[in-house]
């Protein structure tokens, strides 16, 4: 590649046609997934992550059992075909372990683990496509999968990536932007505005940090609304499906059973 790609052109558009503060297309699929208690497939543009949640259930090993709360177990797998270049990562890959630990520590203060002593909540994160903003997609998908599994949480956790190109802040970076631009991933609990995660792998000028941070928090609120809509839609659908079979289920059933 001879010429550098202009990440933000004079008209204020990025290489994929978005403006500075525009987020990528965000879709959520909350349909049932095998025997999992909850699952969510989330896309941020071309980044596609599938999370399945099992539990709370009996802990696999004695060592992992905690007598006062549940243990969160996060396992991350990145599909070999997910990136531009085919690359198989082993289970013990440092980067994967670090990301799994990041996700775990993001959710530990949010999930009400104290309600399930001696149990374990398994969170399996599968990355199917990556195009930047991997951590944000993983966190958003995990939130939705946990909500879908009926695991009690203080609030949603909404994550978004922000970066700065020379002096102009940008949101929701693609892989191309992420490689060139100093960036930060922020995870917020929108209701209280508490921040459960701030992480940087690049160096960001301290003067720019506050601006990007505030922008990311505002963007998280927008994502929160999208996530709420998806969950509300799914919940309403299930509730109406359950009600559709019988008007007043309990009473009607007993009467039918009497006859048989």
């Amino acid at each position: 590649m001879g010429s550098r790609v202009d990440l933000l052109n004079h008209a204020g558009y990025r290489e994929d046609g978005r403006t500075q503060h525009e987020l990528r297309d965000f879709t959520v699929d909350l349909s049932k997934h095998g025997h999992a208690d909850g699952a969510a497939a989330v896309t941020h543009g071309l980044t596609h992550v599938l999370v399945t949640v099992f539990g709370p259930r009996e802990a696999k090993s004695r060592a992992q059992t905690m007598h006062d709360r549940a243990n969160l177990n996060v396992e991350l797998t990145i599909a070999a075909f997910s990136a531009g270049e085919r690359r198989k990562r082993s289970r013990g890959d440092k980067r994967i372990l670090e990301m799994a630990a990041t996700i775990k520590s993001t959710f530990e203060p949010v999930v009400q683990t104290n309600l399930y002593p001696r149990s374990q909540i398994d969170i399996f994160v599968q990355v199917l496509q990556q195009d930047g903003g991997l951590l944000q997609a993983c966190i958003n998908a995990t939130t939705l999968a946990l909500v879908n599994a009926g695991v009690p949480m203080l609030d949603f956790v909404c994550a978004v990536t922000g970066g700065v190109y020379s002096t102009s802040p940008m949101l929701d970076l693609t892989l191309l932007e992420e490689n060139d631009v100093p960036n930060v991933t922020v995870a917020v609990m929108p209701k209280t505005g508490k921040v459960t995660l701030v992480t940087m792998e690049t160096r960001l000028h301290v003067d720019r940090f506050e601006e990007i941070f505030r922008l990311a928090c505002a963007a998280a609120k927008v994502l929160h609304k999208e996530m709420k809509d998806a969950v509300r839609h799914r919940t309403a659908e299930l509730v109406s499906a359950m009600g559709a079979g019988h008007g007043a289920p309990d009473r009607e059933n007993t009467m039918i059973m009497d006859e048989s």
Partner: protein, 316 residues
């Protein structure tokens, strides 16, 4: 773009994704939509982090927590109120045991004087040696030799039907099988559905006229088996140890096998469409399937499955 869908096919989310509003305006738009309709239907939906009520006037129940004198929901589901107690019942969750519930479970571990049973709950249940019927009469005392041959009663992987007897201090449940109807399961097939779809019924042992017995465990485990005649079940002097702890299946004829797989497919289909399971619905569905004269596996074709669900819904 490649999309991964699982059965049932992906829902169309265009309804909510097509109309986008500015965040400031959107709140108002959604207010009307959800509040009016939902309240009118009698089921108010809520999501984690949503404000429910003030903690000074109400008590917090399951699925809620208190922060700054506000009662806030912690799960997505329907809000329920009993006097001053506010609870949120999640739509999908693991089984929450209560004393007296009938459950179907699978042995995961044999420990000294007890078995560990997976019952789709947040912890494995415990089945004490003292709470099973031992061979040689119900009133027989427990001997040391029984402790040494616990695997002759239940082994790892065995399925059983039991009742919730009590809870331990850490919330784990204790089961018992001290009834002729409870014990080891054989001659059939297990189907797992979300526990919320199994409502409390007068009897959870259902006999369908097609020669199939059903055990609807409240934990969402459903056992479908060959019909056993009442008189055979009793045995001589009420308890036949060999039959109760036997690991051998009886001979099951082809007609019964087909009936069992039909019922199992019907249950999977109904649960995929998230409809509550009752004896009446299953009976109706079975009759419908026989009427259509379709093969056992044809139910999983979309059009036939949808037709069955539509006809069941129309009835309800």
């Amino acid at each position: 773009m490649i999309t991964f869908t699982s059965y049932p096919t992906q829902q169309d989310y265009s309804a909510h994704s097509s109309t986008k509003h500015h965040p400031d305006v959107a709140e108002d738009v959604h207010m009307d939509l959800y509040d009016d309709e939902a309240f009118a239907a009698g089921a108010k939906l809520t999501l984690p982090g949503e404000y429910l009520t003030s903690s000074q006037a109400f008590m917090r129940g399951h699925g809620t927590y208190v922060n700054d004198e506000e009662v806030i929901a912690s799960v997505a589901g329907t809000v329920e109120r009993v006097n001053k107690l506010v609870t949120v019942r999640p739509v999908r969750t693991r089984y929450n045991p209560e004393v007296g519930d009938l459950v179907v479970g699978r042995i995961t571990e044999v420990q000294p004087r007890r078995w560990k049973v997976d019952a789709h709950s947040r912890q494995d249940a415990v089945l004490m040696l003292s709470s099973v019927n031992l061979p040689g009469g119900i009133q027989r005392r427990k001997l040391e030799s029984d402790e040494l041959q616990m695997r002759t009663f239940f082994e790892e992987g065995d399925l059983l039907v039991a009742e919730v007897q009590a809870f331990f201090s850490d919330g784990a449940m204790s089961l018992h099988t001290r009834s002729l109807r409870y014990g080891k399961l054989r001659n059939g097939q297990l189907v797992v559905v979300p526990p919320i779809l199994v409502r409390r019924l007068k009897s959870h042992f259902i006999t369908l006229p097609c020669g199939v017995d059903l055990i609807l465990g409240l934990n969402g485990y459903i056992w479908i088996s060959k019909h056993v005649k009442e008189s055979d079940q009793e045995g001589e002097d009420g308890f036949d140890a060999e039959a109760v702890y036997s690991n051998k299946n009886d001979d099951i004829d082809t007609a019964t096998r087909i009936a069992i797989s039909r019922v199992s497919n019907i249950i999977q289909l109904i649960s995929a469409h998230f409809m509550p399971l009752t004896g009446a619905i299953l009976l109706e569905a079975y009759e419908w399937v026989v009427e259509q004269d379709c093969g056992t596996k044809d139910l999983f074709q979309d059009d036939l499955g949808d037709a069955l669900i539509t006809s069941l819904r129309a009835r309800g």
